[in-house]
């Protein structure tokens, strides 16, 4: 059957008509994923896309792999069961800011700390798309929508900080406006053993048009973002370079001049065991700071399903493979003649 190595992007396109609004950022993400898949060298039949409900969660229908469009917010639990049943599948979980952080926040938390070897992509358009435009947990305070005509009175949650507090072993951010960055990020996520969490800034052209343009529009992108690169200093800026320095525990952004001492610049290191640095990065929010994108954190930690398999093996090594007769006859028995 299908051999991962020889597949092309086209092999991952299903025959279903894609039903997002014209101009929706989901198209670019779909293309980036379909483009990434052949590079992973995994046969199609070993790949499963699991999703919740939302515009973004229609994703599995468009992938020529196995796919499960589940119910709202609960995709992580389906992925968990699937991985337990079948640890060698490549499982991709597609969710939205509403699906993953409103109704599904708890499942996301627990999936992340359990560290199943799955890849979670959270399409953050800061709005409920499918239900036609209510504010979401990532919408900014004051956001006016159909359900908040006088403005939302809620403090948004930062998905990266949430993932870090949930003990995620891989945390990254990318954006629909940069196919190359997406592709690189997805490849890194796929390579990570354990749960990979990727926030994707996604443009909902209908209900939250251009929400990220201040950050990622080509014109401002280089000034408003820090593209995290392993071992490289934290620097933004196209013409004038802006560097991130540490003052106590506080990030301070200063224009780099001839005189600046580059050795004082913070250097990106996503592999720190302690979550402090990653949290520090995550606290850099727009518009006060340029927005970090790339891999915030990647650490090694045992996967749930592996630890579980190890227990099965250890138990069988110790007690032999369980036999029903032994099970039935355990405890006190007596005979009737």
């Amino acid at each position: 059957m299908s051999k991962g190595a020889t597949l092309t992007k086209k092999d991952f396109q299903s025959d279903q008509i894609v039903r997002w609004c014209p101009g929706c950022g989901d198209y670019a993400i779909l293309a980036a994923i379909q483009g990434t898949m052949p590079k992973l060298g995994i046969p199609k039949e070993k790949i499963v896309f699991v999703s919740g409900i939302g515009c973004s969660s229609r994703f599995p229908y468009y992938m020529e792999t196995y796919g499960f469009h589940t119910i709202h917010g609960r995709a992580p639990s389906f992925a968990a069961g699937l991985k337990i049943a079948n640890p060698d599948l490549s499982v991709w979980l597609i969710t939205g800011d509403g699906d993953g952080l409103s109704i599904g926040g708890n499942h996301l938390l627990h999936a992340l700390r359990r560290n199943f070897d799955i890849n979670i992509l959270l399409f953050n358009n800061r709005i409920y798309g499918l239900t036609k435009g209510q504010y979401s947990p990532t919408s900014e305070t004051g956001k006016q929508t159909k359900s908040s005509p006088m403005g939302s009175v809620e403090q948004p949650v930062n998905p990266i900080r949430f993932a870090l507090a949930s003990e995620a072993s891989f945390v990254a951010r990318t954006y629909d406006a940069n196919p190359k960055h997406m592709a690189e990020t997805f490849e890194k996520a796929a390579a990570h053993k354990g749960t990979s969490f990727v926030e994707i800034f996604q443009n909902c052209v209908i209900f939250n048009k251009d929400a990220f343009d201040d950050v990622y529009d080509r014109k401002v992108r280089e000034d408003q973002m820090i593209h995290l690169e392993e071992g490289e200093p934290l620097v933004a800026g196209k013409e004038t370079k802006q560097g991130v320095f540490l003052e106590g525990l506080t990030p301070v952004v200063r224009t780099l001049t001839e005189e600046s001492d580059p050795s004082k610049l913070l250097v990106h290191d996503s592999k720190q065991k302690s979550p402090i640095y990653a949290n520090f990065l995550a606290a850099m929010e727009h518009p006060e700071f340029p927005v970090p994108v790339g891999v915030f954190r990647q650490i090694e930690r045992p996967c749930y399903e592996e630890a579980l398999e190890a227990q099965v093996k250890a138990a069988q090594d110790k007690s032999g493979e369980g036999q029903l007769e032994d099970l039935f006859n355990a405890g006190e028995t007596w005979s009737v003649a």
């Binding site: 059957m1 299908s2 299903s14 279903q16 039949e45 070993k46 790949i47 699991v50 409900i53 599995p60 229908y61 992938m63 020529e64 792999t65 196995y66 796919g67 499960f68 469009h69 589940t70 119910i71 609960r74 995709a75 992580p76 639990s77 389906f78 992925a79 968990a80 069961g81 699937l82 991985k83 337990i84 049943a85 079948n86 599948l89 708890n106 499942h107 938390l109 627990h110 579980l308 227990q311 099965v312 138990a315 069988q316 007690s319 032999g320 493979e321 369980g322 029903l324 007769e325 099970l327 039935f328 006859n329 355990a330 405890g331 006190e332 028995t333 007596w334 005979s335 009737v336 003649a337």
Partner: protein
Amino acid sequence: MTEAVQTRQTLESATIRFAGDSGDGMQLTGTQFTNTSATLGNDISTFPDFPAEIRAPAGTVPGVSGFQIRFASEDIHTPGDRPDVLVAMNPAALKANIADLIPGGLLIINEDAFTKGNLKKAEYESNPLEGNGLDTFRVVKIALTSQTEQAVAEAGLNKKSAERCKNFYALGLVYYLYDRPLEQSLGWIDKKFGKLPDIQEANKLALKAGYNFADTAEIFSDTYQVPKARLQQGTYRGITGNQALAMGLVAAAKLADKPLMYGSYPITPASDILHELARLRHFGVRTFQAEDEIAAMGATIGAAYGGAFAATGTSGPGICLKSEAMGLAIMTELPMVVVNVQRAGPSTGMPTKTEQSDLLQVMYGRNGDSPLAVIAPATPGECFTMAIEAFRLAVTYMTPVVILSDGYLANGAEPWKIPDLADLPQITVSHDADPATYQPYQRDEKTLARPWVVPGQAGLEHRIGGLEKDNIKGNVSYDPDNHQLMTNLRAQKIAGIADDVPALEVIGNPDADTLVLSWGGTYGSILTAVNQFNSDHGPIAAAHFRYLNPFPANTAEVLAKYKRILVCELNNGQLDVLVRSRFARETSSFLKVKGKPFQVSELITFFQENQA
């Protein structure tokens, strides 16, 4: 064992209730008596009844823990309505249980515990041992605490630990009363307390001392023996419903050569299934303690999709949470088992008490027309066979199957004849499909099941989900006629199971005019009451449902034979809704919601009243 033995009365059956504070070890005492009696060859049935709190306040009525056991030389099916003997370790235990003791019953009381403080905690205004309130009983007052302390003195425990042996002293008394040997319990103590020699010693001393005191002091005017029952030949063990259910799930998976995945969130009274299964990693069992019941259900569906034998277990409030995902399981037509160990509701209700009030919930508690199969074991031991049956139906028909157990079955024990592996049903599963012709919703002509293809199978990639799908191809479909078709197919598929399950059996006197209907865990009481009614009062027939959805194929035919239909259930009329709506028949119901099983006597009374 001199005179006394010669004058022992022979009984066909006896019922004892041990009652004391939660800290008094009554569950242990009951279990010891149970095991010894089982080994002697009696048929047995037990009913443990304990407080909701881990350690309810000592000495209070809500803190009372009880364990009732009935043992017999005949076949029995219930732990007995009311005890013949009540052991009351303190005033609260007396207060909570005395109303149940039969008139003339034997009441064994720990006098030492009737202190002012304890009487107050039990909210007694005056000491019930004084006055004549207990005159209708044969009262045996014993200074159980102090006699135990004396008896175990030589083991050298401190006062508190010494006192704690009093349950074994009490057990010794009752062993003498019913002529049971001490060996099995002595052996158990050795095994359990081997590492704590002083406690081991003390408990053994207490047990023997109790026995000997009863013998020498001749405190019982009558003593008894209960000969062994004519049980079927074989090897037996005691088993609770939860244990049996766990074993059944494991057995089903083994029989199909599949791994078992059990996803669950702890909840009374279902948690023990999780505990039992968690110990069975060497059987390839993957337990998953989820963050809540929704996730447990999701993981179960995910595992079923992944090709495992997947099951989840919970109690009523947990089903509320699972219900949305259960709808998805129905829509995606995946095979799995959902166990509901019912407890008294609504809402949190009375978590440690039994009830049968989730039948309509599992039938109808989802949005849309969403039929699934529902079965209910009738006895603790049957939880084993019905767990296997549930998986058989699930994989044959590609459907979730609900098992309705209840608190009474879950914690109640009965002797279980260990099955021969060869007698267990074979469960065959195939994931085969031909990529050239495979369609996700192509159905088997007979069962209407769709194929169970799992991720990893090359060339069969496809997508499923909760949106309506077109039959055969499985693409998302909003086509009006397709939705009608799929709704009908989902219903027909479940309805079709009727022909694949045992016919509804009539027990009692099939030629009677009146048919009693019941279901699930009440079987023992119903059977006993029906038999007794037939011998003492007049003809009555009964039919007990183990299959609730669909009903067995012959149900209409059975019902049609009877003039009068009585429905007995531990809820406010739920089987009744199903029966009436299906067969449009008038019925009369005996409905009980007291957190307790039926008493045989109340059933008999109800039969009498309705035998017009």
